[in-house]
């Protein structure tokens, strides 16, 4: 009995429990509504199925959520420019690759274009980081600049056109590598998550970020360079946005400066929140954010599977998100605790009577 209790306590004390439960609930509802939800089939040498689709589609979101998590943890603010920055990165990549018109000829090596695109994203991150860490501008306001200007910058490169890359190799990154049945974005997202996790684990950066996020003043007095750490978090977020931009453009083998990564920053912030991370900064869980990102995509995909049209989708999504976020609020948690205690005490009361 006691062992059971202890186990129960450990399970409920596990910080990732709630995000995981949310994900499981979304999946179970799917299973009921769409019986072949978990079916995976092989077609033309690649895997198909809702689950594969969810993982594939959530790749960009996972990558952005990883960067966002560090930004939130270190600065207690959000980077709302990541969607626009990924468009900038995409535009830089494609423009340097094929120039200002749709084409099927590479001007420079593909890999170099990718590096340039990611560098552009990183530079945008450094700009944000400078504004927030050095000039002490509120994160929301600082990143608002690129949120609005970023797409404009991308438009300057594309001159208002949608530039297509009509070459098969450009599609590898966002679709499939020849002979590999699993979509490439899943690999990229996995690599980003694992590398970030290793960096945080193998250096003390994770501890520094949390410390600065919890108490910037105290962190300074123990010898941490708070500004540098916050700056690095934004640079990393820009780097992640750059990678996401590469995937987004490769998926559609084109850059549409107006629509690439549109509104994805909001989903990234949401992923961090659903993952159980406080948007006030400090302690964070990378795994939580990843689960959050998958949950959001699972929700989107399953709503499509239930034949909800794209224009109605946000309404249903909003309802579910409200429920998930409300359940995690401290006030609702306290209510639940009170109810539990009342139940427990009434049960004990009965026992005494008996």
């Amino acid at each position: 009995m006691n062992k059971m209790k202890e186990l129960w306590k450990r399970v409920t004390g596990f910080s990732l429990l709630f995000p995981l439960v949310c994900l499981v609930i979304v999946l179970v509802v799917n299973l009921i509504k769409t019986p072949d939800f978990f079916k995976i089939s092989m077609n033309n040498g690649v895997l198909y199925g809702y689950v594969i689709d969810i993982l594939n589609r959530s790749s960009e979101l996972i990558i952005l959520a990883v960067g966002m998590t560090l930004v939130v943890a270190a600065s207690g603010g959000t980077d709302i420019s990541v969607g626009a920055v990924s468009a900038v990165a995409g535009a830089v990549c494609i423009y340097s690759l094929i120039g200002g018109a749709s084409s099927s000829v590479y001007r420079i090596p593909y890999v170099l274009a990718i590096v340039l695109g990611i560098l552009a994203g990183t530079a945008c991150g450094a700009f944000n980081g400078f504004l927030v860490a050095k000039l002490h501008i509120q994160p929301m306001v600082a990143t608002l600049i690129l949120f609005t200007a970023g797409r404009g910058m991308a438009q300057v490169l594309t001159q208002g056109f949608i530039l297509y890359v009509r070459k098969e190799s450009f599609k590898f990154l966002g679709n499939f590598l020849p002979g590999v049945p699993i979509p490439t974005p899943i690999f990229i997202a996995t690599i980003v998550v694992v590398l970030t996790f290793l960096i945080l684990k193998k250096t003390s950066l994770g501890l520094y970020i949390q410390s600065v996020g919890v108490n910037r003043k105290a962190s300074r007095l123990v010898g941490l360079n708070s500004s540098l750490i916050i700056f690095l978090a934004y640079v990393f977020s820009g780097f992640c946005a750059g990678i996401a931009g590469m995937i987004i453009t490769s998926r559609v083998y084109s850059i549409d400066a107006n629509n690439a990564g549109l509104n994805i920053e909001l989903d990234a912030i949401l992923a961090v929140a659903i993952g159980g991370n406080s948007l006030g900064g400090g302690k964070f869980s990378l795994a939580g954010s990843v689960i959050g990102a998958i949950t959001i995509q699972a929700l989107t995909t399953s709503l499509y599977a239930m034949k909800v049209t794209a224009d109605q989708l946000p309404v249903y999504k909003a309802v579910v998100v409200i429920i998930i976020v409300a359940l995690q609020s401290p006030i609702v948690k306290r209510w639940m605790k009170n109810i539990k205690q009342k139940l427990a005490s009434s049960r004990n009361g009965k026992k005494v009577e008996a």
């Binding site: 003390s204 501890l207 949390q210 410390s211 108490n215 105290a218 007095l221 010898g223 941490l224």
Partner: protein
């Protein structure tokens, strides 16, 4: 106010305090931090509820109870706080009449409002354009606008909570002029401040609080400043075990290595340039009233406020300190005064709080392994007897005294040569206090040099070999050996005739 009692969880903030304010007087309310001044005012203005006691106000024949500042204002008690609670982007006139604008046909009557504001301020000898935004004017003027507003709303009792802390001398003069003017018109003013000089300049009567108890009410003229300091700081009853302080031979000490040698070190706005020599193994105390520059001196040495003048020699080598990390790397440690804001990193675990400074010194890539971290944490939990259920609970769950020990452990882990302890015993229980004092003596025996700051003179006398006294952000004297006595320190704090060294 009669027999006011107020308890907060764990502490009695006010116990059985009486306070009387007469019409047309300026009454200074004095006491060190935690004496209960602000609590008394909060009870009076309805911000906090009192537990027992009664408040009487002239013209009302029954005890009054204020449940909110609005209720207090309605019966004639208004307050102007240290931070100005006005809207900087609204005009002066708007600020004075916000919430009660004169109206004509249901619309704001701007003409009347501006005219009335102008007159109101003219009465206080302030000639400004009331249609300009408040932020155009100096802090002093803003403060007076706040006072004008408060007095215009209700005018029996005016409470000024540290109004002068951000004003320069001329501005203080202006404020005093306004206060005298209000006094003549029959308003009773409660004046809360830390500045002794100002109290003697303006107040008629002084009430002193200490540790939530009333010490007494005195007429300003009949109370010399040394006595006032004594009343505020108190001669604490010997509830702590007397600690045996090893009497360091003065000459012996002088021969030892000089650890800290500050020459004209200063930080504009917080501490005037000072000279300070500290020898190895010494415990030097910094004494002075709140705001005298005690902490600021320590912060200048540690680089928490980067000094902008003078030189610092550490172990006879010139040291350029730009950030706390520089100080940390050269072997200093600083336990800040404000544990909550600058000390603990509340969401992190006890273990992480202990190792963070060492980790910061080692740098990002030399990670202290989990196993080592646990060893370090356990060592200091054991050594300092930190009461915690585990090394992995968030430090915010610990009591104040134990949090303080965690921070102490954090610094001891870096094995510093020079340790700054700023109010290490504030707000913690008597037992822990004695423990920390004992530890300080132990460190000094081990050859560590310590800078000790405390508001309690008793405590300082117990642990320090030498005490430097500060007043008005200046280091005014240094006492050592036989000169170390309660009365000498108090004289120096109050600015009596002490020989400067």
């Amino acid at each position: 106010m009669r027999h006011i009692t107020k308890t907060f969880p764990g502490v009695k903030a006010l116990s059985n305090v009486d306070f009387t304010l007469r019409a047309g007087e300026i009454h200074a309310l004095m006491g060190e931090n935690g004496a209960g001044k602000s609590t008394l005012i909060k009870v009076l203005t309805g911000v906090e509820e009192m537990e027992t006691g009664e408040i009487y106000l002239e013209g009302i024949d029954h005890p009054i109870i204020n449940r909110s500042p609005q209720e207090a204002q309605a019966i004639g008690i208004s307050t102007v706080y240290q931070e100005i609670n006005l809207c900087p982007n609204l005009s002066v006139a708007e600020n004075i009449y916000i919430g009660r604008e004169p109206k004509k046909f249901g619309r704001i009557d701007w003409k009347t409002m501006n005219k009335k504001s102008s007159e109101l301020l003219k009465n206080l000898n302030i000639m400004i354009d009331v249609t300009k935004p408040l932020s155009n004017f100096s802090v002093a003027i803003q403060q007076m606008v706040a006072i004008a507003r408060a007095v215009d709303i209700s005018s029996k009792v005016l409470i000024l909570d540290e109004p002068t802390s951000s004003l320069d001398e001329q501005e203080v003069e202006k404020l005093f002029f306004v206060m005298r003017k209000l006094k003549e018109s029959g308003i009773g003013i409660i004046f809360v401040t830390h500045f002794l000089e100002q109290v003697y300049k303006i107040s008629d009567r002084i009430t002193v609080l200490r540790n939530g108890c009333l010490v007494g009410e005195y007429e300003t003229e009949k109370l010399p400043s040394v006595e006032l300091v004594e009343l505020m700081i108190g001669k604490e009853i010997e509830d702590l075990a007397k600690l045996s302080k090893e009497e360091n031979d003065e000459e012996n000490n002088e021969k030892k290595e000089i650890v800290i040698d500050a020459k004209g070190l200063g930080h504009t706005g917080t501490i005037h340039p000072f000279d300070l020599k500290i020898h190895k193994g010494e415990v030097i105390g910094l004494s002075g009233l709140l705001g005298s520059g005690r902490s600021e001196l320590a912060r200048a040495i540690y680089g928490a406020d980067k000094p902008d003048q003078g030189e610092l020699y550490f172990k006879e080598k010139k040291l350029q300190i730009n950030t706390p990390l520089d100080a940390l790397k050269s072997g200093m440690a600083y336990l800040p005064e404000n544990r909550k804001e600058e000390g603990i990193i509340e969401d992190l675990s006890v273990r992480e709080n202990i190792i963070i400074a060492l980790q910061a010194r080692r740098g990002m890539f030399k990670v202290i392994s989990r196993k080592e971290q646990e060893e370090f944490a356990d060592k200091f939990i054991d050594l300092l007897q930190i009461k915690t259920s585990s090394r992995d609970v968030p430090v915010k769950q610990l009591s104040g005294g134990n949090q303080q020990k965690v921070i102490l452990g954090r610094w001891l882990l870096t094995n510093p040569d020079f340790l700054i302890l700023d109010e290490p015993t504030r707000g913690i229980d008597v037992g822990t206090k004695t423990e920390i004092q004992k530890l300080v003596l132990k460190f000094s025996e081990e050859g560590k040099t310590i800078l000790f700051i405390s508001s309690e003179i008793d405590e300082m006398l117990r642990v320090c070999n030498k005490i430097a006294v500060l007043r008005d952000r200046k280091k005014v004297s240094e006492l050592k050996g036989d000169q170390l006595s309660q009365s000498n320190i108090m004289k120096a704090i109050a600015g009596g005739d002490t020989k400067d060294e």
